[in-house]
Symmetry: C4
Subunit: 259 residues, 4 copies
């Protein structure tokens, strides 16, 4: 078995495609943004990546049907613009440290064969705080790109000093393959899926690549999550009161509580 297998279902002809990466990461921001993009553009899957670097398990859907962990490449033909899109969306990045490099390089290589010159990686920047108006932080391979991003409100101060995983490595490896690239990171708590942050990231991306789509899917998801948090918040307040009432906790309980 090859450690990474890419199987092509179609061989589309693409016009100077831009690569957009949205694999699962902090707050699922990149993945949620890419998913919305794929759905709204009705982008078509054309290649599937499987790997022994993904978790050693299969997913069971609600009909009881299994599927392996996989990352999928979608394409979208941009009839009005200069650049078609390749969107990488999927289930996982890689378990071991070195597999991150291999997964990222495999994706960049595929785009390279399609003559990709530009790539955007999407992700979250975890701050441990919740916010309704997440800032968008950027990182680039090239100073010229920075100006374009700044026009869209992207910040270059106060963001991360490292970008872990595909969102970072695909830029670095892309550069070696002659691609320019930018990472867009939506501020997010980090411990929860954050469709609101994804929406803000996606708005910047669509402005940059000059397409218009609806964000309704992410907005709906954000509202549902807000409701869940309200419930949890009330439950926690109740629990806190009980704690203050002096109920003694064993060390084990306390440890569980702090986790």
């Amino acid at each position: 078995m090859q450690p990474i297998q890419i199987t092509f279902k179609k061989r589309p002809r693409l016009k100077k495609p831009i690569l957009v990466e949205g694999l699962p990461g902090v707050g699922l921001v990149g993945r949620l943004a890419a998913e919305q993009l794929v759905n709204e553009l009705d982008a078509q899957p054309f290649a599937v990546m499987r790997s022994c670097y993904f978790p050693p398990q299969v997913i069971v859907d609600d009909r009881g049907e299994i599927s392996m962990f996989e990352n999928t490449f979608y394409y979208w033909k941009n009839k009005k613009g200069k650049n078609d899109l390749i969107i990488l969306m999927g289930d996982h990045q890689g378990l071991s440290a070195d597999s991150h490099y291999e997964v990222s390089e495999a994706a960049v290589k595929l785009a390279y064969k399609y003559n990709t010159k530009m790539l955007y990686t999407l992700g979250g920047f975890g701050t441990g705080r919740m916010t309704k108006k997440p800032r968008i932080f950027g990182a680039v391979t090239d100073q010229k790109l920075k100006k374009q991003l700044e026009k869209q409100g992207v910040l270059f101060k106060g963001g991360p000093t490292f970008i872990v995983g595909a969102a970072g490595l695909m830029l670095g490896i892309g550069k070696e393959y002659g691609m320019k690239g930018a990472c867009l990171m939506g501020e997010t708590h980090g411990a929860y899926a954050d469709p609101n942050s994804a929406e803000h990231v996606l708005k910047v991306l669509t402005n940059l690549i000059k397409i218009k789509i609806s964000y309704a899917g992410l907005e709906k998801m954000a509202k549902e999550i807000d409701k869940e948090f309200e419930k949890i918040k009330k439950a926690q307040e109740k629990q806190n009161k009980e704690l203050l009432r002096g109920k003694e906790l064993s060390t084990m309980d306390r440890m569980a509580y702090f986790r």
Copy 2:
């Protein structure tokens, strides 16, 4: 050394064999079921898998004789039915995450060479509860199989959303090799070997592949384990009473107790 070595002792001719997997996993359910099947059918070993992915140790039996960790392929010629059987039973699945993929693919490949079109993987679904009447949950590669399993009482709601290890991966990889497959998972506590759950899984399997065998071995083992649990239960009740009597425990003791 090849990471996975399969050594053939015989090269049996098999008639459209169905592959049955029963490697050690949750509650040892799959392994116990496969063992009973091998014993009852008097299935014959024909190939042995060894691997550096297994634990770096040898097993010492009660005569002081050592043996390496290995998984064995057994065959059974089904004189009355359409399909012979290949049964994979053994000592281990793989230690590292990626080795699970490799062990699973090696097993599927062997079956593929024998023209296998169908595979069953057997496992446990850990719930943390003990039950005398374990439910059997299923997962399939194909909706048509689902109906056949439902006729045998297999459930497709309330089961796992992921299947870890060979029981899941062999279905996913088998699909890529053109095989249909189903996983049968017996409800089990998860922390103990569960021959009773194995028996229930095996009953479904034998109905599906239309063979009749005795389950006496598993029933006997279940009774022995029940007796052990009675003893442990009594010992724990005694210990709990002492705790309630106010004996102070250090944090270390408590941690050991909760483990």
Copy 3:
């Protein structure tokens, strides 16, 4: 770089050599026994194994000179007997699980090329107790060997059910290369180097291979260690008294104490 490199310094001609393995393991029993054997027989080094599977560090000796981790193969020409010896003694077995298999196979292969038909692996069996008269436990590839070992007082009841590392794997892999083999395990505490246990193991081994050597080196080392233990014991008794005197300890202290 090859993961395992074996460099030959000499190419001795050996007469049906028996392989003796003494790599570091539980209580350093095997290593200490092999070292004594090498010293007493004045066995000569002829091949050196280096590997990226060993710890990523070098050893600095008391003259400030560095050396890499390595395992050395020694030979000894047995003028009076039928079998020469190959003794494998060294610094490490392997860090990762799968490297244990590779290190063990590399050693067996070397012996195989010298037409080795028999191998002894030496190790410790950790019981958590200290004893002046350690029992010697055995494990074999072959029931005939068992009788020979039993004549030397080797026990086959009450020992380990698994043998971890080279002492076990070399027997298992050796068997695949057509070698018979036995493991001799000296009872030992497990947390300390145990030259006394090594001496008892070595006495059994030398009886089996019919050679006579002095054990003075191990006896001396055992006495030195005994003296150290007396000191530690007194220090601990003092500490225990302080504890009983009611000095309160924080959880952190207690944890450190139990480690």
Copy 4:
């Protein structure tokens, strides 16, 4: 992707170059010393090492530009002396145990092709204590070197018995490639970057290779760090007083405090 890639930007002709290694390690001593050396000599980069063994992330600089983890080889032409220099400075050594061997061997191989006969590795020796006058400890491949080092005040008693990582392995591997080598280790606390220790190491090195440079950069950095420590010390003293005042701490707090 090759696990380790070395890309040449130039192919300088070098005169019997000495290799100096300064990768990040204990107290960043080696890295800081090498950085100062590169800056003062205006050594030029000529080759870059990238590897999937480095952390799976990219670095974002203060202009928002990303770069991959990399180790760089610099050269310096020594017009007055017999030996040019190759200086290896960079971001990382390797994450996994075996990658340390591979990174070290790749670096030694590059120097070997330039006909290097001598190498110095620079590092820190962590003692858990802070000192203004760090001792310099040495380790060598060769007793003759020891005398040269001792003339520079380098100590060979009381230092480490193991040297972990590139500073040790490059000596060991270098020896196999026919190189002599010495490791210079500056005494350091271990938990903090230590430019003062780096300065002392660098003074010994420059004496040994007979060049003169300024150490102003390291001196300035050391002063800045001293100021930071003063602040931290005052904050800690305040905290300790509060503790002594009897404020009760939960186990969790205490654990956090001791970390």
